[in-house]
Amino acid sequence: MSVKKIIVFCWFALLPITLLAKEKSDSASVEMQDTLTKNKQQIFYGFSAHLDAASPLVNYLIDKSTLSFEATVDVDLLHKFFPVFEAGFGYADKLNEENIHYKVRAPFYRFGLNFNILRMKNKTGESKVFTGSYPYIGLRYGFSLFKYGLDGVIINDDYWGVSRPLEVNPKYLYAGWAELVAGVRVNMVKGFTMGWNIRLGLLSHTSKSSLKTQLWYIPGFGKNNTVNIMFNYTFGYTFNYDNKKLK
């Protein structure tokens, strides 16, 4: 089974869980109606902290020589806008068939905004209760400052029948990229939330563009240095005064 198929299978496996949790949280919405109307003018509704369980697994499945961990914090503004800050650590230690060894380990960061795309008013124009569960789309800017190392590079002169090693000194580099995000956040019970999202990473750039092709792995972005698809499955806690109302 290919890696892509395994990942898609995992998504399907996770779907029923998130859908079930969504239905449970909807049942709590009636009890929260009063709270919402009392706080109509409120802007800040709390914040969430989540750990990502997918990126270590996905990175390992795609290539065993890579590893990545990350966590997310977001702020609930008006139940509609969710400024996000993400931080993580990426690692790669790759030896290819030609014995070229690429090594990098560095933290990475992303910031951006999620936008709740759930309709917040019903057909009669009344405000719906925000249950803590919502689908969203978002944007991110990610970046990492890292040092990567290469060794084992050999220059082969086939016609003249000689070869020599090429020294590639470790280099510090800044890499940045943009991400389009789409996902779901679900309030499981009493503020414990989980969710998943997929991301399209693109527009990657580096502080030295001539070195961009040398990068086999960019922490936080992944293997490909042009376009990437990433997946997160997060779980954590949402600190919100409404939590006590949730069942």
Binding site: K4, I7, V8, W11, F12, L15, L19, K22, D26, K94, N96, E98, I100, Y102, I117, L118, R119, P135, I137, L150, V153, I154, I155, N156, D157, D158, Y159, W160, G161, V162, S163, R164, L166, V168, A182, G183, V184, I198, L200, T213, Q214, W216, K223, N224, N225, T226, V227, N228, I229, F231
Partner: protein
Amino acid sequence: MWLNIFSMRKLFVLLVLLPFFGACNNDGECRQERYVAMGVKLFQTKFDAEEETYVITDFVPDSITVYGVDNDSILYDKKQINVFDLPLRKTKNESQFVLYANGFYDTLTILHENTDNYLSMECGCVVFANIKEVVPTNNRIDSAIIRIPEVINVKATHVEVYYKAD
């Protein structure tokens, strides 16, 4: 874009299908041109009796054999060509080639500076050269000039070699 709760199913379908469009993964193949060699073109000076002057024309020998000095591997064997590529040494700054054209031997000595360029894990590295000087023997060759000193691909005539008039 506003969605009600029932539209979430459409979103799920969209999100599940999206990875199938993501065919941009690094497949470990090199798609860059890695062969770098010095392009050579042969010319000959001929006397135009009508104009009573010397003119320069393309020189296509009846048979030309080309190989590197101290190298048993023949690059071009008894060919009828006047444009060819010569692989400069990647580990030294001097490359020598024997040109055996129409029964006459000549040697081209190329002095060059090499620059190593690591491309990627998939492609490895290439060596570019900057030609400093081209020195021919003068058995049948009259002169050689550098047209493009930077050798970064094989799509150019870097050196022109001028043979003497018959």
